[in-house]
């Protein structure tokens, strides 16, 4: 009996194996060629003095040692952190506020939700075109309304807050959607029971909504954190790192070193530092998601 069974099983397993690779193959091919290989390559490049065409030789950790003493790099780290401070928490709070406003609506709900979400699906260059026009120092309608003459993207003080403001306008709809989903998951009988017990609106908000929405809040905070570390497009289009490098963020610094200074190896080292930071934050995100699932 046993030999027969083994013989019957072996071809079947081999066949199953072939089918599985037929299914996984196409994706895996592109994945390895355009994600895994470049990821290994960027780590290797960071140990060389390559130019942007990839020509260079191994120099060990010299790039990293230079990076540690590079004032421009540290400035870009600080600018990124400043941008994160200006966006992550405000963007989460505004998203929560909008979600609270939207969920209580009935007939107007879809229209209001669309209005808050629409900017999110626009290309970044449209968002920046709109921003440059509305916030124009001379003819912009914002300066007209406030009778001011702020040159948002040419003034080192205003540049980063300006980029942050634009980013929040653009992306808050995403956070709002996640909060709406979270708010809808809170069982309605909790509110009814507490109303019977005499809790007022504020109490219900503080003692039911806030604690029960916290898992979503923490998820949004971490997603925002990962996203804003990668800030590049808006800066590239609004300020190009200026004025006086005041918006030179990490990814923009990498771009400049690679494609303008022709220092591929050095830029790769910047990329590796960014990847390391993002992986740490992402690990935090997975922990949060797993905790959500197990509940």
């Amino acid at each position: 009996m046993p030999p027969v069974e083994r013989n019957a099983r072996r071809p079947k397993f081999r066949k199953g194996w072939r089918i599985a690779w037929f299914f996984v193959g196409p994706f895996l091919f592109f994945y390895c060629l355009f994600l895994v290989y470049p990821a290994i390559q960027v780590a290797w490049l960071s140990l060389t003095n390559s130019d942007i065409a990839g020509q260079g030789r191994f120099i060990g950790l010299a790039n990293y040692l230079q990076l540690a003493r590079d004032a421009d790099f540290w400035a870009s780290v600080w600018h990124t952190i400043y941008f994160i401070l200006l966006t992550v928490v405000p963007n989460t709070l505004v998203g929560f506020l909008f979600a609270l406003l939207v969920v209580r609506l009935r007939r107007l709900r879809l229209a209001v939700l669309s209005a808050f979400f629409l900017p999110y699906i626009l290309p970044v260059s449209v968002v920046t075109t709109a921003s440059l026009w509305l916030l124009d120092a001379n003819f912009g309608i914002v300066n007209y309304l406030f009778s001011s003459q702020i040159a948002f993207f040419a003034d080192p003080f205003w540049a980063m807050p300006g980029v942050a403001m634009v980013t929040i306008w653009w992306t808050v709809g995403f956070n709002m959607l996640l909060f709406i989903a979270g708010l809808q998951n809170i069982p309605i009988d909790l509110y009814e029971a507490s109303a019977l017990d005499g809790a007022n609106t504020l109490q219900r908000f503080l003692f039911i909504t806030c604690p029960l929405i916290w898992p979503v809040t923490s998820l949004v905070l971490v997603l925002q954190l990962i996203l804003q570390f990668k800030i590049f497009d808006q800066v590239y289009l609004l300020t190009f790192g200026g004025p006086y490098n005041s918006t030179m963020v990490v990814l923009f610094y990498m771009y400049r070193e690679a494609f303008q200074q022709n220092r591929g190896g050095y830029a790769a080292a910047v990329a590796i530092v960014l990847v390391a930071v993002i992986i740490v934050v992402s690990a935090l995100q997975f922990k949060l998601l797993i905790r959500r699932r197990s509940r």
Binding site: I19, V42, V126, A130, D233, A258, A271
Partner: protein, 276 residues
């Protein structure tokens, strides 16, 4: 008495909400209305809220002074091909990861989770070098190929396939169906809505992608609209009606996709964030 007070408060709240919503889409209205003004009307003080008389001069200028139709063609070609192949390959990969037994399955899934974390921007340099050595710089394939393997879609589809009872596959196997038939005849139709949702957000995401087309293209003829528009805009200088007009043209397809498939976009965005 209290009921009435609550409803008055509610009304005030609703009015404030609507006001905020209007303020939030005002920039979009403003770009749209500026596009239909003459250049001199755009810089009037006080600003003209309604574009009257309607002026199509800015659009005419855009059509004459930029290869806008070529860019439309490029962007449609890139977005449609990326969405189609990305979704097709992701569905197949997710099906295998969810339903088939084979060596290396866990390793692949773990690899996907790690790849999901890697920021595209950080890979841009080696990817550019690789494209350079493959002679794909400034070509459609160069723009399209690196955008196809999106780990996120696989992770989302796998979650949905995991929820389908295994009996469906077992019963179909007994009836003599093979896995290709099972995926496209049973699993795909059962998960149409999420497949649509992921397709649409992939399409929107590819259409809007800025960094990669910026790096990999270097001739005006090969640009996508979001990148191309920024180049002509800086050449046109201070010309608000014209820059607005090209922005309107660049965003019509994604805005339309959102407004038509609103529910699907919402579903896709939530699935992509890990909430079903």
């Amino acid at each position: 008495m209290t009921r009435q007070r609550v409803s008055i408060l509610g009304l005030i709240c609703t009015i404030l909400t609507v006001f905020m919503a209007l303020a939030w889409i005002f920039p979009i209205y403003w770009i749209g209305s500026t596009a239909f003004k003459s250049e001199t009307d755009t810089i009037l003080v006080p600003p003209k809220l309604i574009p009257w008389p309607i002026d199509f001069e800015a659009f005419a200028y855009v059509i004459q002074n930029s290869p806008i139709f070529r860019w439309y063609f490029n962007t449609v070609l890139v977005s449609v091909s990326v969405s189609f192949f990305s979704i097709l390959f992701s569905l197949m990969c997710a099906y295998a990861l969810s339903r088939l037994e084979f060596n290396g399955k866990r390793l692949i899934y773990a690899g996907l989770l790690v790849g999901f974390m890697l920021p595209f921007g950080a890979l841009a340099i080696p990817l550019f070098m690789q494209m350079n050595s493959m002679n794909l710089v400034n070509s459609y394939l160069g723009v399209i190929l690196p955008q196809i393997a999106a780990p996120l879609s696989v992770i989302v589809f796998k979650q949905f396939f995991d929820d389908v009872p295994r009996d469906f596959r077992d019963a179909a196997l007994i009836d003599g169906a093979n896995d290709i038939q099972i995926l496209f005849g049973i699993y795909l139709p059962m998960n149409w809505s999420i497949t649509w949702a992921m397709s649409i957000i992939t399409f929107i995401g590819t259409w809007n992608n800025f960094l990669w087309p910026l790096i990999i293209t270097n001739s005006t003829q090969m640009l996508t609209i979001p990148v191309g528009m920024t180049q002509v805009q800086s050449a046109w200088g201070i010309a608000f009606a014209k820059t607005s007009a090209i922005a309107v043209l660049a965003s019509i397809p994604t805005a339309a996709a959102y407004l038509i498939f609103q529910k699907r976009v919402t579903q896709g965005v939530m699935a992509a964030a890990g909430l079903k």
